[in-house]
C-alpha cells in the first residue's frame, strides 16, 4: 500500500512537468504581450522594452521555462506581472474559495446522486424511478452557466431569497453549489442506479435474504458497498469536470475564486498566475484520483493496488 502510494506520487512528477510545458508554451505562443498591456496601448516602445527586460520576456523560451521550473521546485511560483506581488498571495486565498465551492458541490452531488440512484434501483420502473431519471437527464443536459443564470433570475431577482452574487454566507453559497453540483448529481444518480440494479440480482443478495436479513440492510449493507466502486470512479473523474465548471460558476456568481482569477489572468497575459492556477488544478485533480484509487482497496479487498 505505502509502496503503491509512493509510486503514484512519483508518477505525479512527469505529469506535472508535462502540464507546465504545455501551459507555458500555450501562453507564450498565443498572441498578446503582457508588457504592452501593462504599459498601455500608446506607450513608447522603449518603455515596453524596459518592462519586457524586467519581466525577463526577452530571454530565450527554454531559459524562461527553466527559470520558472527552478522557481516552482523551490516553492516559488513567481511574481504576478500585473500586480507585482508574489503569485502565491494572489492564488492562495482564491484557491480555498474554489476548493470550498468544489467540495460542497461534490458533497451535494454524492448525497443527492446516491439517494436518487438507490431509490430508482430499488423501485425500478416505478413512477419514482422514471421521474428521477427524467430529472437526472435534464440535470445532465443543462449547461451549468445557464442553470446558474436561471437560478439567479428566479431565486435572487424574482423571489429575492438569495443574494445573486458573492461568496461566504450560507445564502451566498447555496445557489453556486447547486449550479455546480447538479450535473454531478445526475451522473452519480444514473451510475448508482445501474450499478445497484446489477448488484441486486447477484446470488449473494439472495443468500442474505435467505439468512433473514432485513430488506433495508440488504440494500445499504450488502448491495451498496458492492455497487459503490463504479460510482466512486465517476466521483473522481467528475471532480475534474467540477473544477472546470467552477470557472463558469464563479464568473456567473461573481465569486472571487481561482476560476475567475484564471480567466482574468489569461485576459491580461499574466503568465505566472495562469501557470500557477493550472498547476494547482492539475495537482488537485491527480491527487483526488489517487484517493479514489486507494478507496477501491477499502471497498473491495480483492483489488490489489500493486497490480
Amino acid at each position: 500500500m505505502t509502496v503503491y502510494i509512493i509510486r503514484r506520487i512519483l508518477q505525479l512528477i512527469p505529469v506535472l512537468l508535462g502540464v507546465t510545458v504545455l501551459v507555458f508554451l500555450l501562453m507564450h505562443l498565443t498572441p498578446g504581450n503582457p508588457a504592452q498591456l501593462m504599459a498601455g496601448e500608446n506607450a513608447p516602445p522603449e518603455m515596453v522594452e524596459q518592462i519586457e527586460n524586467r519581466l525577463g520576456l526577452n530571454d530565450p523560451l527554454p531559459v524562461q521555462y527553466f527559470d520558472y521550473v527552478a522557481g516552482v521546485v523551490q516553492g516559488d511560483l513567481g511574481t504576478s506581472m500585473r500586480y507585482n506581488t508574489p503569485v502565491i498571495d494572489e492564488v492562495g486565498p482564491r484557491f480555498w474559495v474554489t476548493i470550498e465551492l468544489a467540495l460542497y458541490a461534490t458533497v451535494l452531488s454524492i448525497f443527492l446522486g446516491l439517494i436518487a440512484g438507490i431509490i430508482s434501483a430499488v423501485r425500478q420502473y416505478s413512477i419514482a424511478d422514471v421521474s428521477i431519471m427524467i430529472v437526472a437527464l435534464f440535470g445532465l443536459s443543462m449547461p451549468n452557466f445557464w442553470l446558474g443564470l436561471m437560478l439567479m433570475q428566479w431565486f435572487s431577482i424574482n423571489l429575492g431569497w438569495f443574494p445573486p452574487t458573492g461568496w461566504g454566507s450560507p445564502e451566498q453559497v447555496l445557489l453556486p453549489v447547486i449550479t455546480l453540483g447538479t450535473a454531478g448529481a445526475a451522473i452519480i444518480a444514473r451510475m448508482t442506479r445501474s450499478s445497484m440494479l446489477e448488484v441486486i440480482s447477484q446470488d449473494y443478495i439472495r443468500t442474505a435474504r435467505a439468512k433473514g436479513v432485513k430488506e433495508r440492510i440488504i440494500i445499504y449493507k450488502h448491495a451498496l458497498k458492492n455497487a459503490l466502486i463504479p460510482v466512486v470512479t465517476v466521483v473522481g473523474l467528475q471532480f475534474g469536470a467540477l473544477l472546470a465548471g467552477a470557472v463558469l460558476t464563479e464568473e456567473v456568481f461573481a465569486i472571487n475564486g481561482m476560476g475567475r482569477l484564471l480567466v482574468d489572468s489569461i485576459m491580461n497575459r499574466d503568465f505566472p498566475v495562469v501557470q500557477a492556477c493550472i498547476l494547482i488544478i492539475s495537482v488537485v485533480f491527480v491527487v483526488v484520483n489517487l484517493l479514489v484509487d486507494i478507496s477501491y482497496k477499502f471497498l473491495n479487498k480483492r483489488i490489489d493496488l500493486n497490480d
Binding site: 449473494y204 439468512k211 436479513v213 471497498l299
Partner: protein, 343 residues
C-alpha cells in the same frame, strides 16, 4: 408413512408474469418432508424444482409470485406469515444453500462477518460471541485453521471451501430444515462427495430434515430417503428412494433411470428420453410428458392425470395406474432386465 411431517407442501403454484403472460413455473406441487429425513426433488432444468425450493422461503423475486397453495411448516402455513415473520424463519428455522458457491458469498465482507450476521439477527450474539461461534461452525464443517478463515474474504477460498462456508452459515442457528439447491452441481466430483457426506453427517448430528434439490439421480441414491420427481412444474412421482430405484412407475422416472449408467445391471447402451421439454408457453393439454412418452394414448394427450396414491405412501401422476387407462392393460413400464430401446 407414519412419520411426523416437518414440511407439507400442498398444491403450490408459483408463476412468473412476463409481458402479460402467466408462466406457471410451479403448477400445483405437493410433497412432504418427514422429520429428520431427506427428501430429494429431482428434475431437469426448468422443471420447477429450484423455484419450488425458493418458494418455501418466499425468496421469489418479481416478476415471480406465489399464486396459490399451502406450505405447512410444523403445522403453520408459511404463506399466511407476514414478511417480518418470514424473516424470523429464514436462516433460523429453515436455511438454504445454493448452487453457486463462487457467487453466493458477498465478496466485500469477511467469512466471519457473513456467518455472524445470521447469529446476530436470530440469536442476538455480539461480535465477540458471534466470532467464537463462527469459528466453531467452520470447524464443524471441516474447514482447516478456522480462526484464520473468519478474517478472510471469499475470494481467498476455493469453491469447495466456500460451499462449506455456506453450509456453516446455513447451520449457524440450528435450523430444523435445510434446503440444499443443487449444492454440488458447480463442484468437482471429488469435492461433491465430500460435501454430500458432510451434509449427511451434520443432518444426523443435528437431527435436521433436508430438502435436496438435484438433477443427479446419483446424488439422490446417495443422500435421500424420499424422492419427488418433477416434470414441467408438477410432481409426477413420489416414493421412498428404494422403491423409486427398484420399481419406478412413471414413464418419465423410468426414462431418467434408463439414461443413467449403472453398474448393477448388464447394460448395452444408455437410452435417452426422446424429444425435449416443452416450452413454458406451449404446455400440452393432457399429461405434460405425453409427447415424449412411449406409452401415451389419446387419453394421455387430452387429459391431465392427477397425482394418486398407488401403494404405501407412493404417488404417481400417470393414467397407466388408473382404472381409466385405455392402452395395453399388460403394459410394462419398467423392465430392468430387458433394457432395450422402444424403436
Amino acid at each position: 408413512m407414519s412419520d411426523e411431517k416437518i414440511l407439507e407442501v400442498k398444491d403450490l403454484r408459483t408463476s412468473f408474469f412476463i409481458e402479460g403472460n402467466e408462466i406457471k413455473a410451479v403448477d400445483g406441487v405437493t410433497f412432504d418432508v418427514p422429520k429428520g429425513k431427506t427428501l430429494g426433488i429431482v428434475g431437469e432444468s426448468g422443471s420447477g424444482k429450484s423455484i419450488s425450493a425458493l418458494s418455501i422461503l418466499q425468496l421469489i423475486d418479481s416478476p415471480g409470485e406465489i399464486v396459490g397453495g399451502e406450505i405447512n411448516f410444523k403445522g403453520q402455513n408459511l404463506l399466511d406469515y407476514s414478511e417480518a415473520q418470514m424473516r424470523k424463519v429464514r436462516g433460523n428455522q429453515i436455511s438454504m444453500i445454493f448452487q453457486e458457491p463462487m457467487t453466493s458469498l458477498n465478496p466485500v465482507y469477511t467469512i466471519g462477518q457473513q456467518i455472524r450476521e445470521a447469529l446476530k439477527i436470530h440469536r442476538g450474539l455480539d461480535k465477540k460471541d458471534g466470532t467464537e461461534k463462527s469459528v466453531e461452525l467452520l470447524e464443524l464443517v471441516g474447514i482447516p485453521s478456522p480462526r484464520k478463515r473468519v478474517t478472510q474474504y471469499p475470494f481467498e477460498l476455493s469453491g469447495g471451501m466456500r460451499q462449506r462456508v455456506m453450509i456453516a452459515m446455513a447451520l449457524a442457528c440450528n435450523p430444523e430444515l435445510l434446503i440444499a439447491d443443487e449444492p454440488t452441481t458447480a463442484l468437482d466430483v471429488t469435492i461433491q462427495a465430500q460435501i454430500l457426506e458432510l451434509i449427511k453427517e451434520l443432518q444426523e448430528e443435528m437431527g435436521m430434515s433436508v430438502v435436496m434439490i438435484t438433477h443427479d439421480l446419483g446424488v439422490v441414491a446417495e443422500t435421500c430417503d424420499y424422492v419427488a420427481v418433477m416434470y414441467c412444474g408438477k410432481v409426477v412421482e413420489y416414493a421412498d428412494v428404494k422403491t423409486l430405484f427398484k420399481n419406478p412407475r412413471h414413464p418419465y422416472t423410468v426414462g431418467l433411470l434408463n439414461s443413467l449408467p449403472r453398474s448393477d445391471v448388464d447394460q448395452e447402451e444408455l437410452i435417452p428420453i426422446k424429444g425435449t421439454v416443452p416450452a413454458p408457453h406451449e404446455m400440452p393439454d393432457g399429461c405434460r410428458f405425453a409427447p415424449r412418452c412411449p406409452f401415451a394414448t389419446d387419453l394421455c394427450h387430452s387429459e391431465l392425470p392427477s397425482l394418486d396414491d398407488v401403494g404405501e405412501g407412493e404417488q404417481v401422476r400417470c393414467w397407466i395406474y388408473t382404472d381409466e387407462w385405455d392402452g395395453d392393460p399388460e403394459v410394462k413400464v419398467y423392465e430392468p432386465e430387458k433394457r432395450t430401446s422402444e424403436d
